[in-house]
Amino acid sequence: MHLDPILLLVQGLNGVQLGVMLFLMASGLTLIFGVMNLLNLAHGSMYMMGAYLAASLQQRTGSFLLALVLALPATFLIGMIIEAVAMRRLYDRDHLDQVLVTFGFILCFNELVCILWGPQALFMALPDGLSGYVILLPGVIYPSYRLMIIGSGLLVAVLLYLLVMKTRLGMLIRAGASHREMVGSLGVNIKLLYTLLFGIGSALAGLAGMLAGPILSIESGMGDPVLILALVVIVIGGLGSIRGALLASIMVGVADTFGRILLPPALASMVIYLLMAAILFWRPKGLFSANG
């Protein structure tokens, strides 16, 4: 088993890329859970819808970029519709009720994509300029598309930070996380705020799906394994903390990647859960508190 520094560097990049992908999923999930106290399992379905919509749009328009530009607001809209129709009845309910309803959504969406697009997996092409690879250092070959994913994820992290910390909307989000009733009684339209927030979270998940489309199989149920990883990430990072989600995603991505290459398969699949247990043992509420 060779473990020279070049190999470690590439695997490290792989870990970061996986982490960034997870961050896109986890950031939306942690916002929704942290601010609205809603355990949303249908988040994985938004990931899937983003991928399916982008793939179809790419087939119709022939352009990857155009597909992204159109599919993103579409996922945002779908998120807002689901919120208005079903999710807003769940804020005052027990987490178990929320799990039941959102799990039902998973089943519905999994069947819906089969009905709309058939049971076969869809094809999504890599954008032309990014289908090759870059030689970062001698011996370090890395696919350009994956570098783009790392870049996009970090850009989203920065944008989210600016949104939450520097805008009025962000201020309302943080205030709503601390004390919902107070914000409502101050005349803020808390209902609209929540709908927007759910839309943003869904769009983030959809974006993760769209970016993953060209490298992964676009099929019914594709969101479920990613959802599980995202849940582990937000628990480690601290519910409601975007900073926590970023740090935890990178940790989980790197841990999972190195676990898979260093350990036998049975142990490798346990690594992230062991990591979660260890972090929770040290810090029961996760790495950061909400609004961090």
């Binding site: 890329q17 049971p119 090759g132 060209p214 199989s217 099929e219 290459i261």
Partner: protein, 390 residues
Amino acid sequence: MNRLIGLIVTGVMLISSSVFAADKVKVGYLSTLSGPGASLGMDILDGFKLGIKHCGDKLGGLPVELVIGDDQMKPEVGVQVSTRMMEKDKVDFVTGIVFSNVMMAVAKPITDAGIFLISANAGPSPLAGAGCMPNLFTVSWQNDQTHEAMGKYLQDKGVKRLYLMAPNYQAGKDGLEGVKRYFKGEIVAEVYTEVNQPDYAAELTQLRAANPDAVFVFYPGGMGVNFIKQYAQAGLKEKYPLYTTAFTTNQAVLPAMGDAALGIINASFWSPDLDNAVNKKFVADFQATYNHLPSLFAAQGYDTALLIDSAIRQVNGDLNAKDGLRAAFRKADFKSVRGAFRFNHNHFPIQDFYIRQVVKDPNGVLTNKITGVAFKDHADAYHGQCTMQW
């Protein structure tokens, strides 16, 4: 006297009712029709229905009532649905069964109830060996066979250092065992990844560092789409030739892989371009009916329908003649899309295996083309442990 006549008439009726042909045949189709495995179950069903159509919309001259059930790839659901099919719907045959885990659960309950189970896909090794059953017939293959064909091809080709990858479940392990049964060179690494793992970046980086002569993988369904796409995108295809089986590069998933799949060499018992009259008709009609080329799964479903048709014909529609049906199944007197077809004594096929390559047909559609033969009249490795003789 009247009493005697009455008794004789009743007796004659009782005897003759058992040789009356049934008025229809009820077939239970139990398969995976939802979730990631759904496309296989649907494909087999499409092939099966086309087979019934080609037999005159009947099986063995009897109108068909198809009872369709979804096992959701879960053994316990498979048992529930098959029980319902046998007790409530009173089916005469059960067929389908995509996944080996479901097959292992339903094989005994169905066959013990005296119902024939005709597997159109799953062929786990225990049921080919010591666990072979008189009422179970597997039309497709035994799970290891296709992988053995590729192992033999690689051995004959003179590959020295082979890298193996598969998902970490029974079928993955069986697949790599099959390859190792015939490939005797150096196995650089045997890597098992998590089932339904989406991203292989880490494993592919390790592969590049290991620098093998060739790579063999078994990744069915969506896992295959992920792997092949990522393999090509990492620039590995040119340097490390990839070899696999039809389970990874079949017609059902090729469209989702795109050009990433071009040129990949794979093994199969069947190919759309197999040159015999039955296959040509099957492929042409399938394309016309469903607007895409059939996969090997559809071909298996088609052959299953033809087999059942031939068996019912042999007993003149008398579905209660179980021994007669069994003998008819064993005879397998039908023209298969594979050409000749025969069963081994363990009720698994003895058949040829081909080497194919993924190419683009004149219409630009990705498909497979036969480039050679790996095995002629290949029996599975487990039949010696089966004690059935006939």
